[in-house]
């Protein structure tokens, strides 16, 4: 399990932890996301490996103090490789009763609760739906509770700052952060710098926040906080040398698209319509005009995909992005891109469905939609990113395949990956893949469906090219001229060609490799997408106990890797954990007739490592 383990004192007297999971929770107005991201930054600078996950309320402005207005930010950091944002909390900072109520379930037994007692009053109990004070009615007996009136302490610290009471209270998140910085021996300087920069036009606000941060820190240092709030140390992790930054999946994906277009030497035209949790990619790219990126907020998802298709037709890299409901709307147009054989990248940041489902909750339930969800025999390429940083590489790969094979590519991300952040070992920009596109320019023997015999990709002649004027469309076309054709044998041939072209992509990707273990093991866990973290940690943990379990993690969902069948056939048991009702498992069973078994979870929350461990153990025992 991720979370704190060994407890030995370091020379400074701090207790040394292997890793720790901390969650900051409060009202959406309490600044918990900022607090969390600042803690993340200082933790990264301290050399820990880490993973984070923000949990926003679904409502934009829920009433203050209510459970549905609770916003939280979780970070798992350690002296070892961190693969998930953590199963259970070692520390929960709760800024009000509602935050405690919503998040208590995730705190491990004897975990530490740090409460702002200033917000624990009758009014807030009522708003949170507590019938009595949870601190005195026994509901917290399994935890260690540390209470401090942060609201009052912050006001006291800021009494000379000249702010109103309301303004002062807005700094209490920094007071809490200061205290947690002290607990884990973190340096405050990066946050001080950040505050000075953020509020450079309102220096009094910057000073007040810094004063609150320092006050929280000083409180830890000087107060008699006792055993419960001991100082800890989480030593640096063994991390490969190099330059790092933190990235969310949405950022890495956006930058990967820019890098992909650069690799193809084409203009990136990104067309989208806002939807949670996909909008962050639109926002990130809209801010990159200085990189030559064109973004287009269309009138709906259909227009967005159509504009992207128009962009590719005109010789750009057309990309569209949405979440499941929006992707459903796009599918007729995706069929057009398949039929007209145009490059197109469709990013799906999946969320819990069906229909509107749970927009802010994560799921992996659009695999069927991606592989199968169109009218007609309409094959395309499906890729899945496994982590925030992986989005960068997968986005480049999506552009490479789309432009090389003249095919739509669906890139699956999800709400977890989009919002979660992890440290990213920055690649050298010069070493990124280059795959310049060569447009057709030669009129000799030209027709629009002339194919490269190797890739089966059709030639890409863009409007504006003299002598190559031609007409394409969604009607079936003759394989040897591109003209409209209803010839029965030709339709069979074209269907075969479209299928084989897409299947042929499997020859152009690295063979599937094991993440852990190998052919000698008894059970293999096959995963895809954001289950990577919990699966790989679970498998590592069990392997270190000596259990014969291996892990395969797919980036290529369609076509499947060429060697996958052979790999799977070597195992007695195949377990496929997915945050859906069993979709990859059906694909694998259908393709290979192997006895793959599903481990399904659709609670809107990522798998816990312990859940996967338990499922593997159970299969190995019987």
């Amino acid at each position: 399990m991720e979370g704190s383990t060994a407890l030995v004192a370091d020379p400074s007297g701090r207790r040394v932890l292997d890793s720790a999971v901390v969650r900051f929770a409060g009202d959406s107005g309490d600044g918990m996301q900022l607090t969390g991201s600042q803690f993340t930054l200082s933790t990264a600078l301290a050399g820990n490996d880490l993973a984070t996950f923000p949990d926003f309320p679904a409502e934009i402005r829920a009433p203050v103090g209510t459970t549905f207005g609770v916003s939280a930010f979780q970070i798992n950091f350690g002296a070892r490789v961190i693969k998930t944002s953590g199963d259970e909390l070692d520390v929960l900072v709760a800024m009000n009763p509602a935050a405690l109520k919503v998040n208590l379930v995730d705190v491990k037994p004897h975990g530490l609760l740090i409460l702002d007692s200033g917000a624990f009053n009758e009014r807030n109990f009522t708003k949170a739906g507590y019938e009595s004070d949870p601190r005195s009615d026994g509901s917290l007996k399994d935890y260690r509770v540390f209470e401090v009136d942060m609201s009052q302490m912050t006001q006291d610290a800021l009494k000379d700052c000249g702010l109103t009471k309301k303004e002062s209270l807005r700094c209490k998140n920094m007071w809490a952060l200061g205290l947690i910085y002290w607990m884990f021996g973190r340096d405050r300087q990066a946050t001080v710098d950040w505050l000075n920069e953020k509020f450079r036009r309102r220096t009094e606000i910057a000073h007040a926040n810094i004063a609150a941060l320092n006050a929280g820190h000083a409180f830890g240092e000087t107060a008699e906080v006792g055993e419960d709030l001991a100082a800890f140390s989480v030593p640096p992790a063994e991390i490969a040398p190099g330059l790092y930054r933190n990235v969310t999946g949405a950022e890495a994906l956006s930058w990967g698209l820019v890098a992909g277009a650069k690799g193809a030497e084409l203009k990136l035209v990104f067309c989208s319509y806002p939807i949670t949790p996909a909008s962050s990619v639109l926002h990130a790219l809209a801010d990159l005009k200085d990189y030559g990126v064109v973004t287009f907020q269309a009138e709906d998802e259909i227009a967005a995909v159509c504009a992207a298709i128009g962009a590719s037709y005109a010789g750009g890299v057309g990309v569209t992005s949405s979440s499941g409901p929006g992707v459903a709307l796009k599918m007729e147009a995706v069929g057009l891109a398949i039929s007209a054989e145009l490059p197109l990248v469709i990013v799906n940041s999946q969320r819990a469905g069906p229909s509107t489902g749970m927009p802010t909750k994560t799921e992996q339930s659009d695999l069927y939609q991606s592989v199968f969800g169109r009218n007609g025999d309409a094959p395309l390429v499906v890729l899945a990113a496994r982590s925030p940083a992986d989005c960068f590489d997968v986005a480049i790969e999506a552009v490479r395949i789309a432009t090389k094979y003249m095919t739509p590519v669906i890139l699956l991300s999800d709400g977890y990956i989009a919002n979660a952040a992890e440290p990213w070992h920055l690649p050298e920009a010069d070493s990124l893949p280059r795959f310049p596109v060569a447009f057709e320019t030669d009129p000799e023997g030209f027709h629009p469906f002339k194919r490269d015999p190797e890739t089966l990709s059709r030639s890409w002649a863009v409007p504006g090219t003299p002598g190559l004027e031609h007409r394409i469309g969604g009607i079936e076309k003759a394989s040897d001229s591109g003209n409209i054709s209803y010839d029965p044998a030709n339709h069979q041939l074209m269907t075969d060609l479209r299928r084989n072209k897409v299947l042929g992509v499997a020859k152009d990707v690295p063979p599937q490799a094991f993440e852990a273990g190998g052919a000698d093991d008894k059970l293999v866990v096959v995963g895809w997408g954001s289950t990577y973290g919990p699966i790989s940690r679970a498998v590592d943990n069990l392997r270190s106990e000596g259990l014969p379990v291996a892990h395969l993690h797919l980036r290529h969902i369609w076509p499947l890797p060429q060697n996958l069948e052979a790999l799977l056939r070597g195992f007695d048991k195949i377990l496929v954990p997915e945050m859906n009702d069993g979709q990859l498992v059906t694909l694998l069973r259908g393709e290979y007739l192997v006895p793959a078994e599903s481990l399904s979870k659709v609670t809107g929350k990522p798998f816990k490592i312990s859940e996967i461990e338990a499922a593997i153990r159970a299969r190995l025992e019987d």
Binding site: L41, G47, A240, P241, G242, L243, Y244, R245, W255, V258, A259, K262, K267, V269, K289, D290, Y291, G292, V293, V294, F296, A298, E299, I302, A303, A304, C306, A307, A308, I309, G310, A311, S312, Y313, A314, G315, G316, G318, E332, A333, L336, A340, L426, E428, A429, D430, V462, P463, G464, P466, G467, L468, E469, H470, R471, I472, G473, G474, I475, I484
Partner: protein, 338 residues
């Protein structure tokens, strides 16, 4: 094809594909007018793109020797927008039917018009669904009998002109398939206008809605039931050129008056101002038989086109801060692990 050579004729704009509309369909005449227009403009086939949705009208691109993209039902304006955002140099024409443009694709037409993407959108209005065999369409008049409305349609039709002006269009014109002199002139105006030009072309579907426009296009009645608008000229029509339009006294409605009757002179007649949106709206609303149908350029008031603004914004950002990938990746907080 060589752009420099002035030798291109209308025929040079025809592809080698056999035209497959029903014999007598108004689409043939429109095709001819478009080819003629391009020849008159000596348009570069390599830089000209026809994009269409689905319908009889939408088969159009296959018959042109330019670039062409026959897409999906209703979506051509959105696809054309993507084309212009990627390569603003291309001259992009959209061909659409009344169902394609105003039913399934109404939303995209609305937004192309309000954004003012530099496109010529030709709306072949035959007031019927041709390709799907004759169901009524959103422009069919109330009472239209069709396979899906055996008792006659009951919903109020949409007027392309009112729709376009309401959407914020900067160019709206009308012509008739068979008016082979008028139509190319209007097409040239549409082409000259930088921004979205919507041209509604009354098109006869000889199979499913034959004669739908006879009420104002038949030779015997045309002169009295049509008014051909010209910017800066009085709005006069009629066989004897003796009828005119003017604002009714004390009301915001147009009335037909006869020159020479009740002391009416040419000075009393409304002068067409194609930059006047209100006037355009009133002219677009005129309906036969009591009022003439207004043809020609009803409204033309250019403003910056969308793709120009987008392209300029990107160019300005690149100029003020030409960035490379390494810089992008390193933006913000980074740290070194040694």
């Amino acid at each position: 094809m060589n752009v420099q050579s002035p030798a291109l004729t209308a025929k040079d704009y025809a592809s080698d594909q056999e035209v497959r509309w029903c014999p007598g369909c108004g689409d043939y005449a429109i095709l001819k007018a478009v080819q003629k227009t391009l020849a008159e403009l000596q348009a570069d086939t390599a830089k000209t793109v026809f994009i269409s949705g689905i319908g009889c009208a939408a088969r159009f691109p296959y018959y042109m020797s330019t670039y062409g993209f026959h897409t999906i039902h209703g979506r051509a304006p959105a696809i054309a927008t993507g084309v212009k955002l990627t390569n603003p140099e291309l001259d992009v024409w959209v061909v659409s039917g009344d169902g394609d443009a105003l039913s399934i694709g109404g939303n995209h037409l609305l937004h192309a018009l309000r954004r003012n993407v530099d496109l010529q959108i030709l709306l072949f209005n035959n007031e019927i669904y041709g390709l799907t065999k004759g169901q009524y369409s959103p422009t069919s008049r109330v009472g239209t009998r069709s396979p899906s409305t055996p008792g006659g349609s009951i919903d109020t039709p949409v007027s392309a002109g009112a729709f376009a002006l309401g959407a914020g269009a900067r160019f709206f014109a009308r012509s008739v398939d068979t008016q082979q002199k008028h139509l190319p002139e209007i097409l040239k105006r549409a082409k000259a206008h930088k921004g979205t030009s919507l041209v509604e072309i009354f098109q006869n579907c000889i199979v499913y809605n034959d004669g739908a426009f006879d009420g104002f296009t038949e030779r015997a009645v045309a002169a009295d039931r049509q008014v051909l608008l010209e910017h800066g000229k009085p709005v006069i029509f009629g066989k004897e050129n003796d009828k005119g339009l003017r604002l009714a006294e004390g009301k915001l409605v147009l009335e037909v008056v006869r020159l020479g009757e009740n002391g009416v002179t040419e000075a009393d007649i409304l002068v067409h101002d194609e930059t006047d949106r209100v006037m355009a709206g009133m002219l677009a609303a005129l309906q036969p038989p009591h009022m003439p149908v207004a043809l020609g350029v009803l409204y033309c008031d250019p403003t910056r086109s969308y793709e120009t603004s987008v392209t300029d914004e990107v160019a300005a950002a690149r100029k003020s801060h030409p960035s490379d990938l390494a810089e992008l990746l390193h933006k913000g907080h980074t740290w070194t692990v040694s």
